[in-house]
């Protein structure tokens, strides 16, 4: 018997790897100094740990370590990159390009900049969630100062053509920010090869602790300047004031090191599990649809619509499996997922979607168990679904006159 509850929501967050925890522990109690304390050994030790981790993280993304700025996570990194560039380069231009399936940390930051008088272009995506490079090329104008496109999407796992975007940005002399929160540690990331000027990361998506992340800010070719979000003690070369979260940084560095070292074997294993889950569900259920890209997709991601079964009710039947849904009923806004909407999933199907996020600690037994339970619940709820009954009896649900309230 598998142990429940089973965690399959690794896009939302991940547990801290025991190896990471072990690396962190001494920094709570023994090496607790303030990394900015220059005049005693407690401070020196803390600083040494931070610099070692900066080195690890820099190496993991092919960057000069001194260009890695520690933050409280990807939300802050995204805000810092976008607002920081917008503010610093406002004399040069006021136009920013992003795309519709970005995380809210990017989208809402862009909305805020619009309120401050900037102009933002939100590129559309195709049915797989990819932006069109021609659209991007056409959107760039003399006033454009920044392109912000994520590396991999957190709902559907789609991997954007970052390298091509980087090349285009360079050709046009526009800065390129990429939110790589879901990608670092899972895909090879090299900021120079990919032409990335600013890169957001977060530790808790890669088996590190919550509340710590980083922003890479290119130092040469070109040197990127940012107006800081936080003012204070001038930490992180004045770009991000605030006493460094040494314990968190140690955990982040260790987590990224492990993720990079084990990337190849782990992604192969996770992909195998994901593919098994996908194939099993497709084989055993009719009218299920995968949302996202067939191949350019994160190894652990499976976003699937189960026609005629509302997502929240499905989650309720699968309470011993931690998943998330694109259904409106699970969201605070009562709107179905904007990402699914953006890739053209109709509202009725968006309501029926579940996101499986497989990760390091999932086992084949868990996947088999989850597949069995999903099949069981979908069948049970379809028996209860008037839509399934109508569709099976040949009623065209799209042309029905529905009584909306």
């Amino acid at each position: 018997m598998v142990k429940t509850p089973i965690y399959m929501d690794n896009h939302a967050t991940t547990p801290v790897d025991p190896r990471v925890l072990e690396a962190m522990l001494p920094y709570f109690t023994d090496v607790f100094g303030n990394a900015a304390s220059r005049n005693h050994v407690f401070g020196h030790e803390a600083e040494a740990a931070v610099e070692e981790m900066r080195g690890t993280i820099g190496a993991a993304i092919g960057a000069d370590p001194k260009n890695v700025i520690f933050t409280s996570g990807a939300t802050e990194s995204d805000n810092m990159a976008i607002k920081g560039v917008a503010e610093f380069y406002k004399e040069r231009g006021n136009h920013i390009i992003t795309q519709v399936t970005e995380h809210k940390a990017v989208l809402d930051t862009c909305k805020e900049l619009e309120r401050r008088g900037y102009e933002v272009t939100y590129l559309p995506v195709d049915r797989h969630g990819l932006i069109d490079l021609d659209d991007l090329r056409k959107a760039i104008k003399p006033e454009t100062i920044l392109i912000s496109v994520m590396m991999a999407n957190n709902e559907i796992g789609t991997i954007q053509p970052v390298k091509e975007i980087g090349a285009l940005a360079k050709e046009k002399g526009v800065l390129f920010h990429s939110d790589a929160t879901q990608a670092v540690g899972k895909l090879p990331v090299h900021v120079d090869e990919l032409g990335i000027d600013l890169l957001s990361m977060s530790a808790h998506k890669i088996y590190g602790p919550k509340g710590v992340g980083a922003l890479y800010v290119r130092g040469r070719n070109p040197r990127v300047r940012l107006a800081p979000l936080f003012h204070g003690g001038g930490h992180e070369r004045g770009m991000r004031s605030g006493t460094l979260n040494v314990t968190g940084i140690v955990g982040f560095g260790k987590a990224l090191q492990i993720a990079v070292d084990e990337m190849e074997s782990e992604s192969a294993r996770v992909k195998k599990l994901r593919d098994k889950l996908e194939t099993t569900l497709r084989d055993r259920l009719d009218e299920v649809f995968v949302n996202g890209h067939p191949t350019l997709r994160l190894a652990g991601n499976l976003n699937m619509s189960f026609a005629y079964v509302e997502g929240e009710s499905l989650l309720m039947g699968l309470r011993e499996i931690a998943l998330s849904s694109g259904s409106a009923c699970t969201s605070a806004t009562l709107e179905p997922s904007y990402v699914l909407k953006a890739i053209g999933v109709s509202d009725d199907l968006a309501h029926t979607s579940l996101r499986f996020g497989l990760g390091r600690f999932n086992t084949e037994e868990e996947v088999d168990y989850a597949a069995d339970r999903v099949v069981e619940e979908v069948n049970r709820l379809r028996e209860m679904s008037p839509l399934y009954e109508m569709a099976k009896s040949g009623v065209d649900l799209k042309t029905m006159a529905w009584k909306r309230d």
């Binding site: 509302e310 209860m384 679904s385 008037p386 009584k403």
Partner: protein, 138 residues
């Protein structure tokens, strides 16, 4: 979302799931909601000539609270007259199932489904009566 015990119970053991033949002259069918909104309820009532609801069945596409609301609605209406059923308000469902504010619309939908089913039955009875009163028709 934390569900009340009663919502969980109705969700796990829904009462009266199923369908009646919608063409049966004693059956009234209410279909409310829309797939794009994430909730569709079908409630059917079997009503005798005295206007008493003898049986009820439902099928629902919607969240757990919507399923529970319609399941409870079928229990609620059984044995009632059509007027009593028509007068049922969603508040009754909210209270029974302890629905939180964000789930009130699920109960509103169930109230609407009951009313729609009663109206459907009445409409069909009246149509039938008119048909029978057409001169020359047996």
């Amino acid at each position: 979302m934390a569900y009340s015990e009663k919502v969980l119970d109705h969700y796990k053991n829904p009462r009266n799931v199923g369908s009646f033949d919608p063409n049966d002259e004693n059956v009234g069918t209410g279909l409310v909601g829309a797939p794009e909104c994430g909730d569709v309820m079908k409630l059917q009532l079997k009503i005798n000539d005295d206007g008493i609801i003898e049986d009820a069945k439902f099928k629902t596409f919607g969240c757990g609270s919507a399923i529970a609301s319609s399941s409870y609605a079928t229990e609620l209406v059984k044995g009632k007259t059509i007027d009593e059923a028509f007068a049922i308000q969603n508040k009754k469902i909210v209270e029974e199932l302890s629905l939180p504010p964000v789930k009130i619309h699920c109960s509103v939908l169930a109230e609407g489904a009951i009313k729609a089913a009663v109206e459907d039955w009445k409409r069909r009875k009246e149509a039938k009566a008119r048909e029978n009163s057409v001169p020359g028709k047996q």
